[in-house]
Symmetry: D2
Subunit: 344 residues, 4 copies
């Protein structure tokens, strides 16, 4: 932590800051400059909250020079963390697994058909919501436990790994029984109770970036999970709030290299929510792989025109198949490989 003093700060102001730092149990280091003085804090253990110092007379600003997170940091663990959610489905290495499927589980026929479709096109994991966070209480809220049962059947039929969302503590326990990876949705990225709960489980977690979360906030939320003992965390860019009505969200691919530099955790991308429009899912899926994403999460529906939710951004099966074909040479161009399903 560095305390930058105002140009007009008096020696007494500087002393007061030094005293405040001492009182907090750290050693102050005043550094007089040509125009102004800064005061460093020695022994920063990443837990210092200096906000009260910010308000002392003569203080211009506080600068935190250490990152506030720790276990998710690449300084802490230089090598990539590999997260394996099922045999052959590993995120964070040179392979790029694709998770695909409908927004919601709607019926046995729909989810089984979706599973066969996406597997045939090359996906290695199936997505599909049983618990759906919807802005309106009057929208379809998902099939609940029955949906989880249907996902289990889809897995038995196709061998696909299952990724599905949990919205609360009870749901997380349940999802952990049925799924290979628990998704924490954007709206719950800072639901710290839920993060602690999944941190105590031993199931891999896919944590989606919040609607207006900074990269640092995303990493801090992941830190909550690691701090409880679960380091099997996959991060996911899914688009953030935008003032441009031409898109549902702004798909922030800059976050991919930013996260991968700062952290050892894998980061995947969800171009379906990232764009909100079927026509743009393909271009943005390709862009995400080219940018270095460690995986993709794509909405595909056997019959998007009859989907109960997110129909407009779900790919038709044929579109998904074509897209998978385009992704292979793009991954190859940067020395990676789209994961292929194992034999059955």
């Amino acid at each position: 932590m560095l305390v930058v003093m105002q140009a007009t700060a008096s020696p007494a102001d500087v002393q007061r800051v030094c005293d405040a730092i001492s009182e907090m149990g750290y050693q102050p280091l005043p550094m007089p400059g040509a125009q102004l003085t800064t005061v460093g804090l020695i022994g920063n253990d990443r837990r210092v909250d200096g906000s009260h110092i910010e308000a002392l007379p003569g203080v211009a600003e506080i600068i935190y020079v250490s990152s506030p997170y720790k276990q998710v940091s690449r300084e802490w663990r230089p090598a990539n963390t590999l997260v394996t959610i099922a045999p052959g489905v590993t995120f964070g290495g040179s392979d790029v697994p694709v998770i695909a499927g409908p927004c919601s589980v709607e019926s046995e026929q729909q989810i089984i058909e979706a599973a066969h479709t996406v597997r045939a096109a090359g996906a290695v994991a199936l997505r599909g919501g049983a618990f759906k966070p919807r802005s309106s209480p009057y929208s379809f809220q998902g099939m609940g436990k029955e949906g989880l049962e249907l996902l289990r059947r889809a897995k038995a039929e196709t061998g696909l790994a299952i990724v599905t969302e949990a919205m609360d503590d009870e749901g997380a326990q349940l999802v952990a029984e049925y799924a290979d990876c628990i998704q924490i949705g954007a709206r719950n990225m800072q639901n710290y109770s839920l993060l602690k709960t999944v941190g105590k489980l031993r199931t891999p977690v896919m944590l989606k970036r919040g609607m207006a979360a900074t990269v640092q906030e995303l990493l801090l939320s992941a830190e909550y999970i690691l701090a409880e003992g679960n380091d099997q965390v996959i991060l996911c860019e899914r688009g953030v709030r935008t003032w441009d009505p031409s898109s549902r969200n702004m798909f922030d691919l800059n976050a991919i290299p930013a996260v991968k530099k700062a952290s050892h955790l894998p980061m995947i991308a969800d171009p379906s929510h990232g764009t909100g429009v079927r026509d743009r899912v393909g271009p943005m899926a390709r862009a995400a792989v080219a940018a270095g994403a460690d995986g993709l999460l794509i909405e595909v529906h056997p019959d998007p025109n009859r989907a109960l939710s997110d129909g407009a951004q779900s790919l038709f099966p044929q579109q998904f198949t074509e897209l998978m074909g385009e992704l292979v040479p793009i991954a190859a161009a940067i020395g990676r490989r789209i994961t292929t399903p194992g034999a059955r």
Copy 2:
């Protein structure tokens, strides 16, 4: 719902949209125009999800002409809802109650001293977090149940109503036992499990706007609470995400008249989080009252320089006293009255 067709849409495209609407159980109404055709949907019950229609050939866009919320709407209930959290502390009428106190409950001495201080200056309710949602798992997380006990003592000593945050289902039950109003924080505005839980309780709820929530999303989250049977909901503007590093948040006072036009629920303002800087709390508290806020939530600490959290935005007791004096004539200028504490 209105389906706007592209200028180049064929009659067959229009027919396909009409069929899709019929299949959904509604009656389609095609309206040919000079440049393009629109198709209306008759019988919209606010639950229609038309996203799959958006993807049909020839469709330009879907326009939802009814608001997606219902019970929170002023069309539904024209008169202001009055929310009384304690005798003499009513939000939504002509009175403007001020809730004040520290960010967190830190000790018995601190919270009792804070309570006396803010009551003496004219506050009628005490804020103070026992459960604290913090971006970092390593930051102070609040005193928990012990903090609630201390708030109860502060109430016994001063008669102030108690407003404090709950972060999960279990916490909500506990807070409901101790407090007069349960705060749902910005990070949990779309934690629908928590919203349903507090909707089933009979304690008033103060729902803070999320970091990047639209006014409509805020109202939809309130709808979750009303839909469970609890209409004692106070909304709160607390600043939203900004790209301008000169402020911690952007304090969106436009939301006050916007919400009050759309909804019958009271809307208060939190200038402490809305600015993040002590010097701006006074100007923005005055601005909020002038804009028509139904109450204020202000951080005041007996000794901000030693606060465990949010020190930089907490007012000194003397500053708070001066501010309360400024607010009285501003409220009077628009025919309102800062609520005064009852006799003890």
Copy 3:
């Protein structure tokens, strides 16, 4: 300027940064810390561009500890600058002048009627665009020089000072002949050629904040004008880009105390553009005065339903009169006074 080194930086990395600073003609000051080293630069004259240092091995970030502006800074000139655009119409002191009138000059009758109306209600200056920046080339672009002639007539009839926009160099020269204050619109806030041109004139300038400009960028744009010799600059908050479709713009009143702390220049507010909706202009005008704005800019039209532009946000004459009545006690509550028109 402070160069923060990565925790893993080697002594050679630190030396390389020191050398780079020396090469730039400044003196480096390495400051080893517990976790990492920072290197200060002595003699910063506010013109240093350290971006190439940011890219050296081992550098974590560059922190600019001096503000990049100079003449607009309150450190540079502690007392408020008073900007007098006409006798009795001064911004920056305890008086709060109100500028009002239609979005565009549309006809002689319209502007003369508007001028009489706003003067009767208490405005001391008339706004009205002769040159209109419109998003679409097919929208009404203003009456040009003829509009300026009509504004001159309105001034002759009512004594109101004239504030009107210039969009290019030629227009600025022309506006300077006719008006008492040249407005630079939001879209041109970073049109540096235009800023330099008005900096060379001796007419007061009202500089509106850009759609997504930070407070610092606004001050830097003002610095362009002062750097050319014209210190008669009034800043104006007019709302910024928002992702919330419930408002045309987000009206950032935090910027008022932020600018007034950082700079000696007066800052006014435009609640008409700041809200985009007539119903919210009153509440936000009151809020702006309560927040400490040094003046207001309000759209009023004799017949808003027939306005050629911005009809939905223009007040009816009667609404403006009522608003002026509400503003008086609010200004008084903070020791200020709404400027009253002189005798004629």
Copy 4:
């Protein structure tokens, strides 16, 4: 244009809207619905400003169903516009030209060296600013006309096409004499005087998206240029304002497919400004090509550590060479080709 009435609107309210539309010279078409009535306007010529109707009693909102732009629209001209700035350098077809070079022209040696370097790596056009828009008046403002002379020499030596920025009318005339393509920077995207000036020239224009411009605003600004007779316009995504301090800008690749669907104009991408950090330029350049960008604009400096501006985001020559190698297979994966320099 569609006028959506409130659910509570009376027949008189609807009639008033119809009358207002008639008065504007159009034919109103009332369309009663189950919950509410809408009124259409027949004969919309894209120039209607309905804002005064929005304010009539009983009106809920106005919906513009035709796009406000015209000549830039793909409805207007279905086939891609090809913009050829020099022989063999065409944007909008299947080829993808790369423009590269330093942020600013700094000296003869620097720009000639840069030109040779980027040509050797495969660029077909040279960028380099002679007129630099800088936030601070005290930053390096470019070499002006001398810089243009140096660019001409670089072209003579290497055969590269020249792309450079103009900031005002006079500069635009000058740039048109020296360069193959006039760049309009983000800060001037809505400088309508400048847009009209370059619209009257016959030199191709590259128009960069403003810091917070919507896709529609970008297209409307292009419309200003086409409306004056110049249809040789290349659009450019260069990142937009973000609240996330982890990036200088948010690079909005969604805009590429969005613009290409709405308009026939070519759209390129600038990953250097889009990221602001050298390490991310490569990943985002690859992503832009994968997303369908019609070209790239990349900052490369012979010696970034000594650059006078934007050093931190400029690639080293070797990095640029490697990147060009990665782009070839990515373009091929979607059936395109990175343009190669002609023989000399």
